[in-house]
């Protein structure tokens, strides 16, 4: 079976600085795959390269068998990939509802089912529907970012550090929502995280990225058990 998303020996760089050096990653349909690594390892760059900004210098990105390496950004989104970008990036002056509608609008899809899904998944958003995005708490903003990404009815969801700056309890809520989504709708998720412990528990498979190279891969449970992972990313205490 060929993978839903396949990164084939991808190299990516900012000017002269190489951020990814020949990375190969596969995400199969229905999986939650997580990518962990330290600051500056290239995790976010990998997600952004899938989305075409920056473009891969070498190698190929395949989505459902199509080569999307050189596709314009908005067409990549239209191919069925959605992204909840790092730092949430919700529209602060637009209401929660408007934020959600923005997620559907470039695709010409009916926003109805997406809104319903977002509100069932995160009842909090329903309560805050008319409130301005900028007045939400960090956790609510993250919920909104995920809900907004789902509005385009994507087949693959890219999540960039959804736990960033959130309280542990809120992170747990967000992660369990991701699991629910995956189990109930079969949504494929590629998750980039610094919070390795929780990410590995959530994911079916995981990759470890160190200075632009994949150093380890395996199932979430396997990696959780490995001593070098425990030392480097989980803390031994």
């Amino acid at each position: 079976m060929s993978a839903m998303l396949q990164l084939d020996n991808v190299t990516s760089a900012y000017g002269a600085v190489e951020a990814l050096r020949g990375v190969s990653v596969e995400v199969n349909k229905g999986e939650i795959v997580t990518l962990i690594g330290a600051n500056g390892a290239g995790k976010s760059t990998l997600l952004m390269t899938i989305f075409g900004s920056p473009r891969a210098r070498a190698g190929r990105v395949l989505f459902e068998g199509r080569d999307i390496t050189a596709m314009p950004l908005h067409e990549i989104a239209r191919a069925g990939i959605a992204q909840a970008p790092e730092g949430r990036r919700i529209f602060p002056r637009m209401s929660v509802r408007e934020n959600l509608l923005m997620g559907a609008q470039a695709f010409g899809v009916d926003p109805g089912p997406g809104l319903e899904q977002a509100f069932t998944l995160f009842p909090r958003l329903k309560e805050r529907e008319t409130q301005r995005g900028g007045t939400l708490s960090g956790g609510e903003q993250q919920m909104l970012a995920i809900g907004r990404a789902l509005m385009s009815r994507p087949r693959l969801l890219l999540l960039d550090e959804p736990s960033l700056g959130l309280a542990p309890l809120v992170v747990r809520g967000i992660f369990s929502a991701i699991r629910t989504l995956n189990e109930q709708t079969g949504l494929t998720v590629l998750l980039v995280e610094q919070n390795a412990n929780q990410a590995l528990r959530l994911a079916h498979r995981a990759y470890v990225l160190v200075t632009g190279r994949i150093t380890l891969e395996g199932t979430g449970a396997e990696l959780l058990a490995r001593p070098e992972i425990r030392d480097a990313y989980l803390g031994t205490h």
């Binding site: 908005h74 959605a82 909840a84 509802r97 408007e98 008319t130 992170v171």
Partner: protein, 469 residues
């Protein structure tokens, strides 16, 4: 956002408070000392005195070279002598001291309650629902009122022209968040399009009006392409240059535009084929309706023409705000990266904003040309762009009512102070400072959601972030 950042959000990564949506805390904005933040340990009066003293010191430093020292031609006719005016300096410094002291005392005595901007925003939102139809009613009835003079009518036309330009620029700056310092270029393109087409090919105003809009929109796209990748300050500089380029081209392309001499004898518009000739001969407006020929007819007609054009601009803007395109503009103003992530074609969104904003500038330009019957590059200098931008900023970015009020105050104010020509700029500057101190986000700084279920809640501009174009 302030509400959100006050909630405990867990440990911050890297020790830097996480506020990545760029929304300033209330205290960060404007740098204006707020009453409750004054150090509690010192009594308010002492603090106020200290602060006023500092302000007076700064004023002294400024006024000594500016006012205190003055060079005059010496009595013998040759050489300069230095005159000092210490008394004037003392008076000015005294005014600054007293003013600052009064301001400080007033703010420390003010009861601490709801933030005043929030309260005022609620008030303005309430007033706005009454004021807007009132303004519209007045604008429609103005030419019919018995005490309206010809001068008042001309002033009304002028104000409405700027209202329209403000609303047009508001699409680019207020909605899409693209700072455009060269808006006058599109005004010029519209004006010259009509002037050239009508004098060269004899086309009527009604044929030229859409053409002027199309040409200006085309100019907007032309500007849009090279600046697609620019934001903020850089964008502002390039648009400023664009405005100047258009003006310099008009000035130097003598064979087409007549250069500094401009184009004169531009035909006046007709009312469904009926002209407004002064003699009132056959086929004229006065003759057809059996009226006494009067130059006021044309003035009234021009007034209603610009009123309709301005309302068209407003109507289109309000409609577009509810459409996907308008929402995409607002989203672009808020966060360009998020727009990309949501699959929005940022290129097209920016270009349509430039084009549609420019189109209304072009309409206004064609109107300007037909009203003046004469155009020259002198009418399209940078100061025009600056005034239009000032109207948009002072009115409150993105607020239609605010822009209309600001146009009325600024343009009407200019006229009202015509007798004090020398002090006009002084008053203008002072008005700007006052508005920016009291209402830093513009006169009407709230934004109602374009799409809402049930009740629409307006929110103060202070409580949410600015877009970073």
């Amino acid at each position: 956002m302030s509400g959100a950042s006050r909630l405990p959000e867990g440990p911050h990564v890297g020790g830097v408070p996480h506020n990545d949506d760029g929304v300033p805390e209330p205290g960060e904005m404007g740098g204006i000392p707020r009453g409750p933040e004054a150090p509690a340990s010192r009594p308010p009066v002492v603090h106020a005195l200290r602060d006023a003293g500092l302000a007076a010191l700064v004023a002294l430093g400024l006024f000594v070279p500016l006012v205190g020292l003055r060079t005059d031609v010496g009595p013998s006719g040759g050489g300069l002598i230095l005159r000092t005016r210490w008394a004037d300096v003392a008076i000015l410094v005294g005014i600054v001291f007293a003013g600052r002291l009064a301001m400080n005392l007033w703010s420390s005595l003010r009861p601490a309650g709801r933030p005043r901007t929030a309260r005022r925003t609620a008030q303005i939102a309430r007033i706005g629902t009454f004021v807007a139809p009132l303004f519209l009613g007045f604008a429609v009835l103005m030419p019919l009122l018995p005490w309206t003079t010809r001068y008042g009518l001309d002033l009304g036309v002028l104000v409405l022209t700027y209202v329209m330009l403000g609303w047009g620029l508001n699409i680019v700056v207020g909605l899409a968040g693209l700072l455009d310092l060269g808006y006058v270029a599109f005004y010029a393109v519209g004006a010259y399009t009509y002037a050239l087409l009508s004098t060269t090919y004899g086309l009527s105003f009604w044929v030229c009006l859409p053409l002027a809009g199309i040409f200006a929109a085309f100019a907007g796209m032309l500007l849009g392409f090279p600046v697609l990748r620019l934001r903020g300050d850089y964008l502002a500089i390039v648009t400023l240059a664009f405005g100047e380029i258009i003006r310099v081209v008009l000035l130097n392309w003598v064979s087409l535009t007549g250069g500094p001499n401009g184009i004169s004898g531009i035909p006046r518009p007709s009312f469904f084929g009926l002209s407004f000739s002064a003699g009132g001969g056959p086929g004229s407006f006065a003759d057809f309706f059996g009226l006494e020929p009067s130059p006021t007819h044309r003035a009234v007609f021009l007034y209603y023409l610009i009123l309709v054009l301005a309302l068209l601009t407003n109507w289109v803007t309000l409609r577009l705000r509810r459409q996907p395109l308008g929402r995409a503009w607002e989203a672009l103003r808020e966060d360009e990266i998020a727009c990309r992530a949501l699959g929005i074609n940022v290129t097209n969104t920016k270009l349509t904003a430039f084009a549609i904003g420019a189109m209304f500038g072009g309409f206004a330009g064609a109107f300007f040309a037909t009203r003046q019957a004469f155009v020259s590059p002198e009418s399209f200098t940078f100061i025009e762009s600056a005034i239009i931008l000032a109207i948009v900023v002072l009115g409150g970015l993105g607020s239609q009512l605010g822009v209309a009020i600001a146009a009325l105050v600024l343009i009407g104010g200019f006229e009202a102070f015509r007798d004090f020509e020398e002090y006009r700029m002084l008053v203008f500057g002072a008005a700007m400072v006052v508005i920016m101190v009291w209402r830093p986000r513009g006169l009407v700084s709230s934004r109602k959601p374009s799409v809402a279920l049930g009740e629409r809640k307006a929110i103060s501009g202070d409580l949410v972030g600015e877009g970073h174009g």
